[in-house]
């Protein structure tokens, strides 16, 4: 038995230690770049980083990636040990927390029209403003990934929802949406017109379309109990009660769409790689229909963020990386994102990206999450209120009322501890 164990250790050491030792350090400046891009996103980003390293022989960017949930934990624990990376990616809603801890460096010196800088006018104003606070910018947006409509062209044609040319015609307003629902839903065939995927983003979009607001204009005080919010969720629940939409299931209702049994889903552009792999599905993409009274679509941005105390060659290298990645947003977009550089979206290369171009139409009315340090607690309450309403356990106003109560306590606690709640948006 000892022999076996020893043998295993030797083998393991050989494999682990032997092959390709990291290259000689030489004069390369090492820059650590962390993000949550796993799966196909990760592949795309790895390719970009490799190209950057090839084009910048004096720099060595090492990318570490892990799934988003654990990524933020890891970042936080690393920050404790002083091992945080020089540059990392953050969703814009998570940024206020890192900012509140003094973790983040401003990036206004990267914005401008000089060489090596990024022209702020080339960015979508609302996307860039999203990362602004106290008049300064705290990250450079790499992309926006909005919620949009994916629909099954074959089911649409079969149900007769077509335009003059006989092409499947996606709905643009409430009436068209509900009509399509009625035509597509067929209980016998186990076919549904629409299913809920991520309840959080779907509901957030619809609530905003109904004119609902979950926080006050500064993003500080919760207003979950506002009547438009309840109205929106009650309408959603109404669809379920009428049998037009199934009661929400777990996240894998997306699989139903991939299997060709669902007519429409609202999902993020980042689901694109899965659709592209589903070669037997004839799908289309379009902006989310306006089922409320105004246009709105949930969206989030990945931002490139610098650690507060990065200096010298590492700082200069990290800035170069940011510029590189931003300039290559179209390549990045191919993995299922939308670039936020107007000049790049005007390029032929981007225009040839079908789904991304469709979803890009939503940029003027992207609905971000509010910016405050208790956003995680808010999302927990929001998820619960939405779940209770859609499942019919509680009426919308009561579910939202509970969330409102809990959030007020949370805000009180943060205030008592002297957090900078600031002006958000």
């Amino acid at each position: 038995m000892r022999g076996v164990v020893t043998f295993l250790i030797v083998v393991g050491t050989l494999i682990a230690g032997g092959c390709d030792r990291a290259e000689v350090l030489g004069e390369k400046t090492t820059i650590r770049f962390w993000n949550g891009f796993t799966g196909p996103d990760g592949r795309t980003m790895l390719g970009l980083v490799k190209t950057f390293n090839d084009e910048n022989p004096d720099l060595n960017v090492i990318m570490q990636r892990m799934e988003w949930g654990t990524y933020y934990n890891k970042l936080f624990v690393a920050g404790l040990g002083g091992r945080a990376p020089e540059i990392f990616v953050s969703h814009s809603y998570a940024l206020p927390r890192f900012m509140g801890a003094g973790f983040v460096r401003e990036v206004d010196d990267l914005l401008g029209t000089g060489p090596g800088q990024l022209d702020p006018a080339d960015f979508d104003a609302n996307v860039l403003a999203n990362l602004q606070r106290h008049g300064r910018h705290w990250g450079i947006p790499l992309d926006v990934h909005p919620l949009g409509l994916f629909y099954n062209k074959k089911l649409f044609r079969e149900a007769g929802i077509v335009d003059a040319k006989g092409e499947a015609k996606p709905p643009t307003n409430r009436e068209e949406f509900v009509t399509a629902l009625r035509k597509l839903t067929d209980a016998k065939k186990k076919q549904w017109g629409f299913v809920w995927t991520w309840q959080r983003t779907n509901s957030y979009t619809i609530i905003r379309q109904f004119g609902g607001e979950l926080f006050d204009p500064q993003g500080v005080r919760p207003t979950m109990g506002a009547p438009e919010n309840a109205e929106a969720l009650t309408w959603c629940r109404g669809l379920i009660k009428e049998g037009l939409v199934p009661a929400p299931q777990d996240f894998n209702s997306w699989i139903g769409f991939r299997q060709g049994r669902v007519g429409m889903v609202f999902e993020g552009i980042y689901m694109l790689p899965e659709l592209e792999r589903q070669k037997d599905l004839d799908w289309g993409a379009a902006p989310v229909p306006v089922v409320g009274k105004q246009q709105s679509a949930w969206g989030e941005s990945h931002s490139l963020v610098l650690r507060k105390d990065v200096k010298g060659k590492k700082l200069e290298g990290a800035k170069r990386l940011i510029k590189f990645l931003s300039d290559h947003s179209v390549e990045w977009a191919m993995g299922g994102q939308v670039p936020v550089r107007k000049s790049l979206r005007a390029s032929e290369k981007f225009k040839s990206l079908y789904a991304q171009s469709q979803f890009a139409r939503e940029i003027p009315y992207i609905a971000y999450y509010p910016k405050n340090p208790y956003i995680f607690e808010f999302l927990t309450e929001f998820d619960l209120a939405v779940e209770l309403t859609l499942r019919g356990t509680l009426p919308a106003d009561e579910a939202l009322g509970r969330g409102q109560q809990n959030m007020e306590r949370v805000v009180e606690r943060y205030q008592a501890q002297g957090w900078d709640l600031g002006e958000a948006r």
């Binding site: 038995m1 076996v4 164990v5 295993l8 250790i9 083998v11 393991g12 050491t13 050989l14 494999i15 682990a16 230690g17 092959c19 990291a22 650590r32 949550g36 891009f37 796993t38 799966g39 196909p40 996103d41 990760g42 592949r43 790895l46 490799k50 090492i62 990318m63 570490q64 990636r65 892990m66 799934e67 988003w68 949930g69 654990t70 934990n73 890891k74 624990v77 690393a78 404790l80 040990g81 002083g82 091992r83 991520w198 997306w254 699989i255 991939r258 299997q259 993020g268 980042y270 689901m271 790689p273 899965e274 792999r277 589903q278 070669k279 037997d280």
Partner: protein, 279 residues
């Protein structure tokens, strides 16, 4: 050994049925890993339409893209870490368990209670402080971070303690009368007698270490140093999973321990008939 044959056969039939039910999902994993992604999603039939296409899309991708998926590095890391942890735990715990089970130590009851007590502490409390300690030692992002802290686990001490207690005292007393010292008794008597227990502990420790996810995730920074479970998790994003690749990678992850289990378990079965005791 004296029951009627039909009742034994009946029991064995039940056991076989249960065992098959247990194994069926695992077989499903293996079989499904041979399907390309689009087919997996459709769940049309259990068997793959064309296994070769699945192998190409899933396994070849996982095995042949080392810049993105250094799977052999991960495999090596896992082997190294898990073997070392197992060796460490077996040694340290069997010494400690013998002392607690058989030697007359002052304050033994309190030490034992304290050790068992730590089993009840939710592990999450330890994450941040252990990280800080490892950081001070300079062990973050090295295999040491994954190996050494596991030596502190109370599970092995508890397990071996119970097994040692179950060994009849007469054997030990006989050896002591022959003049054997404590260390010799431990090495020549207790260890061989408790081979089933040791092999059991070895298997648990090895599998536990192999599948440990949170430790490598938090204590390692570099992708090349990852162990297999953390590496395999890179195929999953928060929104979706690449089922084909994940399943193929998990097959690659599970098969080695399956084989190792088979090897070790012979040690258990080579049962120790008490009468065949060698001095």
């Amino acid at each position: 050994m004296k029951e009627p044959w039909y009742s034994r056969a009946g029991i064995e039939a039940l056991v076989v049925l249960t065992a098959l039910l247990f194994v069926a999902p695992v077989v499903l994993i293996y079989v499904t890993s041979l399907k390309p992604e689009a087919e997996i999603v459709k769940f049309e039939s259990v068997w793959p339409k064309d296994a070769r296409e699945g192998i190409r899309k899933n396994y070849e991708y996982v095995l042949k893209t080392p810049e993105e998926i250094p799977i052999f590095r991960w495999l090596g890391n896992s082997i190294l870490v898990s073997s070392s942890v197992t060796l460490l735990v077996l040694t340290v715990d069997s010494l400690a368990a013998y002392a607690l089970a058989r030697l007359r130590l002052p304050g033994k009851k309190y030490v034992f209670a304290m050790i068992i007590g730590t089993l009840m502490v939710p592990g999450q409390i330890l994450l941040v402080p252990v990280y800080l300690i490892l950081n001070k030692l300079g062990w973050i992002d090295t295999p040491w971070a994954l190996i050494v802290p596991h030596g502190a686990g109370a599970f092995g001490v508890f397990l071996l303690h119970q097994f040692f207690k179950a060994i009849p005292k007469e054997l030990e007393e006989a050896a002591m009368l022959d003049g054997a010292g404590k260390l010799r008794i431990w090495w020549n008597l207790m260890l061989p007698l408790s081979k089933p227990a040791l092999a059991t502990l070895a298997i648990f420790t090895f599998v536990g270490s192999w599948n440990d996810f949170l430790g490598p995730l938090v204590f390692l920074d570099s992708v090349e140093k990852y162990t297999l479970p953390v590496g395999v998790a890179l195929f999953q994003s928060s929104y979706s999973s690449e089922y084909g690749l994940t399943l193929a990678a998990s097959v690659i992850c599970t098969t080695p321990i399956l084989l190792i289990f088979l090897v070790f378990s012979r040690q258990i079965i080579r049962g120790m008939a008490m009468s065949g005791l060698k001095e």
